[in-house]
Amino acid sequence: MSNWKLHTPNGVNDILPDECAVKKEIESTIWSVFSSIGYKEVETPTFEYYDCYGGVDGQISQENMFKFFDEQGRILALRPDFTTSIARMAATKTQNAAMPLRYLYTGNVFRVEQTQGARQREFTQSGIELIGSYSPAADAEVISAAMEAVMAVGIEEFSMEIGQIAFFNGLVKQAGLDEKSTEKLRERIDSKDSVGIKSITDKLDIDDSIKNLMIDLPYLFGGEEVFEKAYVKGLNETSKLALDNLKRIYELLCLYGFEKYVSIDLGMLESIDYYTGSIFKCYTHGVGFPICAGGRYDNLMGNFGAPKGAVGAAIGINRLISVLSDKEVHSTSSSLIFAEHNGEGIAYDIAYNLRVNGCLVEMYIGDGDYTEAETYSKGKDISAMIRVFPDGKIMIKDFAKNEIVETTANEFLGYYDDNLMYDEHCDCGCEHEHHHDHDCGCEH
């Protein structure tokens, strides 16, 4: 019999301190970047009614969601992404707010993925949603914010590819393709399968210029020259507007100084039921999947009863970690306090004061003596040990400098509360009841 309690299920992971430190640092860096651009953090529930996520032609299909039931038999699902929930929240709770809304989020999402693929079923996303604007400036803001975030965490070499779903939609409308053939064509263009595209376009009765454009679509990627190739004669209004829009976004990003990172890919056609305009993905060396993705989803808000333009981006934190894993872990070492018997009260007070001042302080909780505590400290990231005696004497051992400083709690902290001192009476009969660092002549 398998002992399941010792294992974690497929696709979920423990994150141990070293990696967790990197993760939190990445998250907080990204948070600061987004926040400085005016995005406000929000949280949405970890699970919602399935209808919320699955009601529209969602980005994530039914079989990729973890589902369960509430006590009335309604279907619930763990959030497969944040965008849908944030759109619902914005549509139902911010009717009177001034537009646009800028939201940022960080949290875990859950997806049922193939068990044998090395894919995660729970992973962390950090992202932004800009709701209430149809302007290409909104797209440019979100895309540039995503790039700022990627750079801020220390990724220097990356490529941001931008496409436009509406351009393709215009083409298929013009060609009069039905839903099924549209999906086939989309799939084949998205996988740059020229042979497959040709087998569909050969059957179409449309202008050769449009036909050739469809066949060329997988190769319409690169810099500004892509636009020249795409503006062919006979484009319909939808496609033309889409190109104008994409061109404007591209221009803005170049003006912002991102020219070397940004390129156009008109053949990028994923999630076309979800995205309505710009769509983008960010790639870097060392990870076979995009580290960041997003786009414009103008239909989603309408689906929740408040039609509005919206664009968003999500960064895959776990993927960033795998790219940055070679980087040095930035860990802070701590001090270890060892209390001799009856010195615990003073020891705790010293720890408290150091902690308030921003130090990392660990208390030795083992049963051993000072030597054992020192041995213990060798296996940990501990830079100094503080040995506390019941009479307030302390010995500070700095491992780096390899020196020992003797002092008292009073001096060390700059003050001392006498009440904390262990009340140890000796029978020497002198007036100094507690302290024994005086010269009353007794043996203590």
Partner: protein, 212 residues
Amino acid sequence: MRYLTVALAKGRLAELAMELFMSIGMDCSEMKEKTRKLIFTDEENKMKFILVKASDVPTYVEYGAADIGVVGKDTLVEESRNLYEMIDLGFGKCKMAVCGPKELEGKLHTMTNLRVASKYPHIALKYFQDEKGQTIEIIKLNGSVELAPLVGLSDVIVDIVETGKTLKENGLDVLEDVCPLSARFVVNKVSMKMEKERIMDIVRKFKEKIDE
């Protein structure tokens, strides 16, 4: 310069693919020697070639462990991975077909509980369910699929047909064609973006060779 890694499906496809790579000036002579090595390097062109099981090629490429792959269309459809399928290399041509005893010809759609044995359960399911709208029972086998109808394990099979000789010898016929197959040149989506020039250069040269 980074190494570009190419995953090749072990066997005849790999040999044909190597010839194609050599014809455009890559050096993989090392591979021709009888050896058990699975990884070969062309230092001059900064290329690495790895030999993997055919059905694993799409996995290596999707995850970016290999930038490029050469693999049969059958494996691509069966694995349905998220990658770029750039060129039909034109070799390794054959087809995927539904095969069974001749008396079933033209009657498949009338059978309510059609049992289909195949090494390619996804392809079989996609064909019957999505294209023909017929619900079937899939029996996944790993080899000697032709045997299944003979011993009553299934009604028909979905398998690769090259010459049709094995089928004939086992008293089976091609009943319906599913799709034509050949070797494909596939590319990881990130590699395509990050190594655009080098990969497109190979694509261009391959296309020229194929057109010749």
